[in-house]
């Protein structure tokens, strides 16, 4: 469980992450045109694969 106290830094992080996610969502929907949608799709998948392949310390708890 995460029980980190609320902080301005964390709030800014949440807002930035939301904006980042909303931007990706719109780009994938083609709002910025087809080439931007293709680039956004490739970027998103690359980012997901990169994060997925990072070692998860939580797995070692088992």
């Amino acid at each position: 469980m995460s029980a980190a106290p609320f902080s301005a830094r964390r709030a800014i992080g949440v807002v930035l992450a939301t904006l980042f996610g909303f931007g990706f969502f719109n780009a994938l929907l083609g709002v910025f045109g087809l080439p931007a949608a293709i680039i956004a799709l490739l970027l998103f998948i690359s980012l997901a694969v990169f994060i997925f392949l990072r070692p998860q310390t939580e797995r070692k708890q088992s």
């Binding site: 469980m1 996610g21 997901a48």
Partner: protein, 470 residues
């Protein structure tokens, strides 16, 4: 009371196809998942992958069986409820359905036995090959069915002679204008459905504090697949939106809930409407300003075309199309939110310990099924009043069958399918409650339904194979 055969035929087909689509969607998604899992097991020899494979193979087998049985019923329903459609469109639709049997069913039937019963009877590579062939079969099956349905949405490669469809170009019948966009849309929907199903069950184990290795791995893999598939789905969904706007403008006009020929500029995005079809207006609208222009026209000031652009007698019922589309799209937004948060939690190394997220994943377990059904409602109700777009109206396609006969078969379908879904849910929940450690190496015959329903049989099966394959 006068029974309208057209309404009853449509309700019957809607009911049976809604029930049916749950299972092939699950089969396509789980078959691909099993293929990847078995590949990972062969590569790493990690026993957790084998445990995941054995567990999900059981649920896949049940879903596959129900999917085949309920799919066959649909072919018969063409004759029962829509004989005129079958008579007129048979030359174009029939071969696609026949080829589905010839290519996909034969492939699946040939390898399903090895997949289900052969884990300890054939070599691991042959078994993996069988799993791959079953997964390929489910996708080939989807290709043919999507080709046939897409032809009904965007017919091509035919002429009409003496009131019947005559094929002039087979390639264009199969490769009709919407097929190559609708097919990936459906396949992605199936992958997403399977991924959220798998991740939801894994999250439930983590919340319960049992089978934690299994739970972590399935949550991780399920969300990994879902992340890629949801992103691809948003991309493909927008391509399909553009294609449908070109070929079936009335469907998309109804899907967005606008009536006027041109909306205001900038257009709002409608979330909830109470449409009044008779007066061609909305009684109530809940909308977000500007978002309609942004999402639907990809500009800040674009106007959206409304349903008044389509003559009244050619308009679909707005409420059904609108809510079908919006349930699907809302699910897509929620699923994107979930996968985006999962990436963040993965970076934070809190993916398996954030309980609110795991609870949300459990709640989202059926999200893919709901989105898929809603998407099909959009596709089918949005095509009305046509059964074959621009060629044959649904009202003209109905069989000359008395309403009473149609009602009695509808009741029979409801009763039989209620038994199917009850049995499926009982066995699926029992398998999930029992957990992966007791999953058998292969499908087991219990002798009778009564035996199968007895818990003792399950317990016996669990104790008969202690630790095998692990």
């Amino acid at each position: 009371m006068k029974l309208d055969p057209e309404v009853l035929a449509r309700v019957q087909f809607a009911f049976t196809v809604t029930f049916h689509i749950i299972f092939p969607t699950m089969s396509i998604g789980l078959a691909a998942f099993l293929m990847v899992i078995e590949g990972l097991w062969l590569k790493t020899k990690d026993p957790v992958y084998l445990e995941i494979y054995r567990f999900w193979m059981g649920i896949f087998a049940m879903g596959f069986g129900v999917g085949v049985v309920t799919g066959i019923v649909l072919s018969f329903e063409f004759g029962l409820g829509f004989a005129k459609f079958a008579q007129i469109a048979g030359p174009a639709i029939g071969p696609s359905i026949g080829l589905e049997v010839l290519t996909a069913f034969f492939l699946e039937a040939g390898f399903l036995g090895i997949m289900l019963f052969g884990l300890k009877r054939v070599g691991p590579k042959l078994h993996f090959f069988a799993t791959c062939m079953v997964a390929l079969g489910t996708q080939i099956s989807a290709s043919w069915i999507l080709s046939a349905n897409s032809w009904m949405q965007t017919p091509d490669g035919i002429t009409i002679e003496n009131g019947r469809v005559v094929v002039t170009n087979w390639l264009r019948v199969i490769h009709n204008p919407s097929w190559l966009v609708r097919l990936p849309h459906m396949l992605m929907a199936a992958f997403i459905t399977g991924s959220f199903f798998v991740a939801g069950v894994g999250a439930w184990y983590l919340l319960c504090g049992k089978h934690e290795n299994f739970g972590r791995r399935t949550v991780s893999l399920g969300l990994g697949f879902a992340t890629v598939a949801v992103a691809c789905q948003l991309f493909v969904g927008d391509l399909l939106y553009g294609r449908m706007l070109h070929y079936q403008p009335s469907k998309m006009q109804a899907a967005e809930g606008f009536w006027e020929e041109k909306s205001a500029s900038p257009a709002p995005y409608n979330w909830i409407i109470v449409p009044d079809q008779a007066n061609q207006r909305n009684r109530f609208t809940l909308a977000t300003p500007v978002l309609g222009s942004l999402w639907l026209t990809h500009s800040l000031r674009g106007r959206v075309a409304g349903l008044k652009n389509t003559p009244r007698d050619l308009q679909p019922t707005m409420g059904m199309v609108f809510y079908g589309f919006h349930v699907m799209f809302t699910m897509a937004i929620l699923m994107f939110f979930m996968v985006a948060v999962s990436l963040w939690l993965r970076v934070q190394k809190r993916l398996f310990s954030t309980r609110w997220f795991l609870r949300s994943l459990v709640i989202m377990t059926p999200a893919g099924f709901i989105a898929t059904i809603a998407g099909w409602y959009t596709a089918e109700t949005g095509r009305q009043p046509w059964v074959i777009w621009g060629i044959l109206r649904t009202a003209d396609a109905v069989s000359p069958v008395p309403g009473g006969a149609m009602l009695s078969t509808l009741i029979a379908f409801v009763v039989i399918y209620a038994l199917f879904i009850t049995a499926f849910l009982i066995f699926a929940f029992r398998m999930i409650r029992r957990g992966p450690e007791d999953a058998p190496d292969h499908a087991e015959a219990s002798g009778s339904l009564m035996n199968a329903l007895r818990t003792q049989v399950m317990d016996h099966a669990a104790t008969a194979h202690p630790g095998e394959g692990r």
